[in-house]
């Protein structure tokens, strides 16, 4: 049959044509490929300088298939959020991305996410989405391409942020910048306009604290909603597991200070003198330094009462934190810290450790003074607060247990106004 076909083709279309067809057939068979009706796109060359979606857009436009006429949320019964973000920082990823998945799924909303540099996945999750959430993105060719695709698909866009990365006034006065290489500060200042540009291209904004809302209002006219970080299932489960580990049976009182990124030495410096004095006043006291803390700032003689814990994964961090009797979270008084959320308080409460916090940022919102922790201020200094807890361990344990209960009931991921603005829930569900 093959020979008959070859000779017919050779007779009708010429020998070279028949030879070409025969070669293509043999080549396909040798490679184990099956016949297909789907031919490659005529514009099959890839221009390396083109955006990933550039040739597709061009082709769709040429075939009158570029525009989507209706917002998907209008036509679809389901809601599906696609989140594209910078997922490089583990803490940010946990609190602003991963915990949202269970939150929205509990409301019947699908939630998928992608790192913005995973372009195929980021592009793909947009196609079936009804809403786009962007997290911590700045303007680049890639983020602009993804935003452009979202607009082509007529997706409403929300931009989410938990640090004032857009703010020159915040970075310009951020005390912690004094502890890092000056070039890093210059870098952040240079990047700020790129974040603001991205924010202002969105329809609405969500941020993590009331302080952040107020500061964002100085830069952006977009509606800005609150979405606080909360204690998600992972936090509660890992915390409960960490609480099962035995505390050291050495009779020591442990104060924990945790730092998830560079520069927090300046925050620690706010209370370091009093804290050192408190620790050194009793050989049975320990200072637990967790994560990034430069030893150079520590006073002489404190070394033997310091316990160091390297920056680690979340489970190991909670295991270590569970050994503390209390946690301190000082913040220097500047605009940047005024936007800070209470994630460290949530972490400590997850392992039933009470926190001592100041009035900067949103930390005090999560602490019920005298019931789940202590809020220092004019009436109570840091060292006094530490002494209160060190002197009465029964009281300290009770604060910790109540703090744990508080995050299980009040600070878990429920769609309540202190966690998420009702307007934001309506923006997705409406």
């Amino acid at each position: 049959m093959l020979i008959r076909r070859f000779s017919t083709t050779a007779r009708q279309d010429g020998f070279s044509c028949a030879l070409g067809k025969a070669w293509r057939y043999v080549f396909r068979r040798l490679r184990g490929q099956g016949p297909s009706t789907v031919a490659p796109s005529s514009d099959h060359r890839v221009d390396p300088s083109a955006l990933y979606l550039g040739p597709v857009w061009q082709e769709l436009a040429q075939h009158n298939g570029f525009h989507i006429s209706a917002t998907p949320a209008v036509l679809q019964r389901r809601r599906q959020i696609a989140l594209i973000g910078d997922l490089n920082l583990p803490q940010c990823r946990k609190y602003r991305v991963e915990q949202l998945a269970t939150f929205w799924q509990a409301l019947g909303v699908e939630f998928t996410y992608a790192h913005y540099e995973d372009i195929p996945r980021a592009t793909s999750i947009l196609q079936q989405a009804t809403h786009l959430f962007e997290y911590r993105l700045k303007t680049t060719d890639v983020t602009q391409m993804l935003r452009y695709e979202a607009r082509r698909l007529r997706l409403p866009v929300l931009y989410d942020l938990d640090d004032p990365l857009f703010s020159v006034s915040a970075y310009g006065t951020y005390g912690n910048m004094a502890a890092v290489d000056p070039s890093l500060k210059t870098h952040f200042l240079n990047e700020a306009p790129k974040y603001l540009s991205m924010m202002n291209g969105a329809d609405v904004l969500s941020v993590s604290t009331p302080g952040m809302i107020a500061h964002t209002g100085l830069y952006s006219p977009r509606p800005t909603y609150l979405r606080r970080n909360f204690a998600d299932c992972q936090t509660l489960t890992n915390g409960a597991r960490a609480m099962q580990t035995d505390r050291p049976d050495d009779g020591c009182f442990r104060v924990a200070f945790a730092s998830g990124s560079l520069g927090h030495e300046m925050d620690l410096a706010e209370i370091l003198q009093g804290l050192s004095a408190f620790v050194q006043a009793d050989p049975k006291r320990r200072l637990m330094l967790m994560g990034h803390v430069d030893s150079k700032i520590l006073p002489n003689g404190l070394d033997k009462q310091i316990e160091r814990f390297k920056f680690t994964d979340y489970g190991a961090y909670l295991n270590a934190l569970a050994c503390a009797d209390c946690a301190v979270m000082p913040l220097s008084d500047d605009v940047f810290n005024g936007c800070k959320s209470a994630v460290r308080v949530l972490d400590a409460a997850a392992v039933a450790v009470p926190s001592i916090v100041g009035s900067i940022g949103d930390l005090a919102a999560v602490v019920r003074h005298g019931e789940t922790g202590l809020v220092v201020g004019a009436d109570l200094r840091w060292t006094e607060a530490l002494e209160v807890l060190a002197q009465d361990l029964t009281y300290t344990r009770k604060l910790g247990r109540t703090a744990r209960k508080d995050i299980e009931t009040y600070w878990s991921g429920k769609a309540e106004p202190h966690i998420i603005s009702p307007e934001l829930v309506r923006w997705v569900e409406g």
């Binding site: 049959m1 093959l2 008959r4 076909r5 017919t8 009708q12 396909r28 068979r29 490679r31 184990g32 490929q33 099956g34 016949p35 297909s36 009706t37 789907v38 031919a39 490659p40 796109s41 005529s42 099959h44 060359r45 890839v46 083109a50 990933y52 040739p55 597709v56 082709e59 769709l60 075939h63 009158n64 298939g65 570029f66 525009h67 989507i68 006429s69 036509l75 679809q76 019964r77 389901r78 599906q80 699908e110 195929p120 592009t123 793909s124 196609q127 079936q128 698909l153």
Partner: protein, 406 residues
């Protein structure tokens, strides 16, 4: 509002082939009837985009999700492709359609059916050619002759298929899948009979006749203006220079004619205008012209230029859209006895040209047509897309009822 997800290997903005036209036009007609939302899923093959990435596009109000397939897929992937199945399952989950219309599944694969069933979405399967019972899709053998099996027995396919055991696995898989849908539609009694007799989805089939686009109001005026301008008889041929579409027969039939006062227009249906490139008609009598591929919107323009359509297919087709399009416009048809393409009933059995290599019967009918000219035919009543969509609406309700989702 019923939401229908139509799965078709091609769909606008990348349309190709008669079945795609039917899928698109019926979708629009359903929407026009009211109470229906239609979304499509189809395939594309683009370099530079991730394999199995989904791209959303829309033409004339119908959203189409294109799944990007890689080149050089395996034999098995042409009928069951896990990459496509996963994407389709996601789409069904997201879109939550009331029903999946599996219209033309070649290359999409039967995962469309299983993905729908897994999510309790009923399926209507539409068979348009012989893909479900023949790996070569049209029952045309390697040597370009019609297979002729009736019923098809896979054991008889040895010597034609690429790998018998692979073909048998495919055949049995597709038979199983055919049994999983609520309703199977065929465009003609012939197609239904052949498939069911071959063991495919026996007892689930109905004939769901294809529609066509009827002529616009201005067509008759356009047609008579052309006939006044040039009184010669014009033959039309929509197809490539292949044996299976009857080109060698047409060439032989015309070559033996003594008459010369007529025109022939051949249509290049290829995407790139390559079908008739380099063909020399100078040895044939009459005036010959190659007409570019035309869209549904341009169809009247083509049919107004011809008086007689030549449909000399050398295999048993399942429907034959162009025949109905011609008849609806008062264009006479000379055709072979080609399966479902004859079921319009406007040509007497004795006038159907037997499939085979003898050019004499065709030459005789061409000569008669030239001799009788001008003998213009009145337009025939032919099913249109609105009527076809109305029939589909009934089938949808029946399928939903069968699936218990009424």
């Amino acid at each position: 509002m019923r939401h229908i997800l139509v799965a078709n290997v091609f769909f606008a903005p990348h349309s190709y082939g008669g079945a795609t036209i039917v899928a698109q036009e019926v979708a629009h007609a359903l929407i026009r009837r009211g109470g229906f939302q239609v979304t499509a899923v189809s395939l594309c093959c683009r370099a530079g985009i991730a394999d199995y990435a989904v791209l959303k596009t829309e033409v004339d109000g119908i959203v189409n999700y294109q799944i990007n397939v890689p080149e050089g897929r395996s034999y098995g992937a042409a009928y069951d492709n896990p990459g496509i199945t996963a994407r389709v399952a996601e789409l069904i989950h997201t879109l939550d359609p009331d029903l999946v219309h599996a219209h033309c599944l070649q290359d999409l694969g039967t995962g469309v059916i299983t993905a729908a069933r897994d999510q309790d979405v009923p399926v209507i399967l539409s068979v348009h050619d012989f893909w479900w019972i023949c790996e070569r899709q049209f029952m045309i053998q390697m040597d370009q002759t019609y297979c002729g099996q009736h019923p098809v027995k896979i054991t008889q396919c040895k010597g034609c298929v690429e790998n018998y055991w692979a073909a048998r696995t495919r055949f049995e898989h597709l038979q199983t899948m055919g049994g999983l849908v609520e309703i199977v539609t065929y465009p003609s009694q012939f197609a239904k009979g052949l498939c069911e007799n071959s063991g495919f989805a026996t007892g689930r089939g109905v004939v769901w006749e294809n529609g066509i686009r009827l002529p616009d109001q201005s067509f008759a005026k356009k047609q008579s203006a052309r006939r006044r301008q040039d009184r010669r008889l014009v033959f039309g041929f929509v197809g490539g220079p292949s044996q299976i579409k009857g080109w060698p027969l047409i060439k032989d039939a015309f070559a033996g004619l003594s008459e010369t006062d007529f025109r022939v227009i051949v249509v290049d249906g290829s995407m790139d205008g390559s079908w008739w490139q380099g063909h020399d008609f100078s040895g044939l009598p009459g005036e010959w012209e190659v007409h570019p591929r035309f869209t549904q919107d341009e169809m009247d323009g083509f049919y107004s230029k011809i008086d007689v359509l030549l449909f000399i297919s050398q295999w048993k087709e399942t429907f034959g859209l162009v025949i109905r399009e011609a008849l609806a416009r008062g264009v006479r048809v000379i055709q072979t006895d080609s399966g479902g393409s004859t079921e319009h009933g406007y040509i007497a059995q004795e006038d159907l040209i037997p499939i085979g290599p003898d050019p004499a019967p065709l030459r005789r009918q061409i000569t008669d047509a030239i001799a009788a000219h001008p003998a213009h035919m009145a337009p025939c009543a032919v099913t249109d897309f609105d009527t076809q969509a109305a029939a589909l609406e009934g089938l949808i309700e029946e399928a939903l009822s069968k699936a218990g989702n009424h």
